[in-house]
Amino acid sequence: MILQLITSFIASTAFGIIFNAPRKSLLKCGFTGMVGWVLYVWLVHNQVDSVLATLVAAFVVAIFSQIFAKVYKTPIIIFSVSGIIPLVPGGLAYDAMRNFVENDYNSAIQYAAKAFMISGAIAIGLVFSEVINQMIRKFR
């Protein structure tokens, strides 16, 4: 678990560098990515379905990004992008494609559907936090 913490932190920070995020916000990018990924891994480890786990993790990532964006007065995408990246279902997409290449279409479609569901979960997680953010703004 500690290994996951460290690697996800480094990976998200490095993604901040690739996207040329401002130097000051790099560590916060790493932190957002770390929180999202560790939450996802912990949920999956506790037998939660990976789609639901992705949804929760994406939601939390978006909440953290909103807080950082508000506090440091920077555009929100800086944080949410590097937080979301680890959740992208790269492994599933790879498996799907591998099976397509090996002419095993049945398993390929299964993997592809799962990857699609997880992408949808990321989107819905982002939407939820945005909605909550707008509601808070409205009630004030």
Binding site: T13, I18, F19, P75, V88, Y94, M97, R98
Partner: protein
């Protein structure tokens, strides 16, 4: 005379708004933020009726009345979140009255041409770190860390190089992921790494269109259907290019 002054000022506002919008859109900001920034700048000068239509390939901006509508074409888009942040803070300064339109225009002109990116070497190092760390995050073992590191870095540098060589981004992505697949296969064959899948997944990560996916979702949410769908298409094509590159390697061996 007074009329002429007013006309001049409107021109100035339009220019500042369009420049701000252009830089932000080229650097990978969401459509919503681009429109919002332009309207805020206009509103801070006292023009509350402005309309903008922003797509990933062009901006149309118009101020109500008889003034001409202006249009800018966006031909190439990169990812440079630092520029987005700077222009965002300039627009804040204009809104709060800290900065005059003229100063803002000068400063943004400089930013437009400035190269604020991290040095290429640092970017490649970051990409290698991403490759190595993601290999570990997907439950790879320690012996797969170095192969992931190397092929991630090499893949990303190939992407940068090919993108300079050919302007077609998807082709550069295809070639880069093809080389990643080849390299990972080589590593596993000579016994340097263990799990081919983990190494490939990890080292392909730096090429994944994360910003496009996030922006597409956010744009669709905000009701910018045209931009959202076209960004989604771009993300899909990128993912497809990466997938094809790896698929070619897998089917060859």
């Amino acid at each position: 005379m007074e009329n002429g002054n007013k006309l001049n000022q409107t021109y100035e506002v339009t220019n500042v708004c369009l420049l701000a919008g252009k830089i932000m859109l080229q650097s990978g900001a969401e459509t919503y933020r681009v429109e919002d920034t332009m309207m805020r700048i206009a509103a801070s000068i006292g023009i509350h009726q402005s309309h903008s239509f922003v797509t990933p390939t062009g901006i149309i901006f118009s101020i109500d009345g008889t003034d001409p509508t202006k249009f800018v074409r966006i031909s190439d888009r990169t990812t440079d979140l630092q520029k987005v942040t700077i222009v965002n803070s300039i627009s804040r300064k204009i809104s709060s009255g800290e900065m005059s339109l003229k100063d803002a225009y000068e400063e943004m002109k400089q930013i437009e041409t400035a190269n604020l990116a991290y040095p290429v070497l640092i970017q490649i190092t970051a990409a290698s770190l991403v490759g190595g760390c993601f290999t570990m995050m997907f439950q790879g073992g320690w012996h797969d860390f170095i192969p992931g590191l190397v092929s991630g870095g090499v893949g990303f540098s190939c992407f940068i190089y090919f993108h300079r060589l050919v302007q077609v981004k998807f082709f550069a992505e295809f070639l880069a992921s093809f080389i990643i697949g080849l390299l990972s296969f080589l590593f596993v064959t000579i016994g340097f790494g263990n799990e081919l899948d983990k190494i490939i997944i990890g080292s392909v990560m730096p090429l994944v269109p994360g910003l496009l996916i996030t922006n597409a979702v956010r744009d669709l949410m905000a009701g910018h259907l045209v931009s959202g769908l076209s960004k989604g298409a771009e993300a899909f094509l990128t993912a497809f290019a990466i997938g094809t590159g790896i698929a070619v390697v897998l089917s060859l061996f």
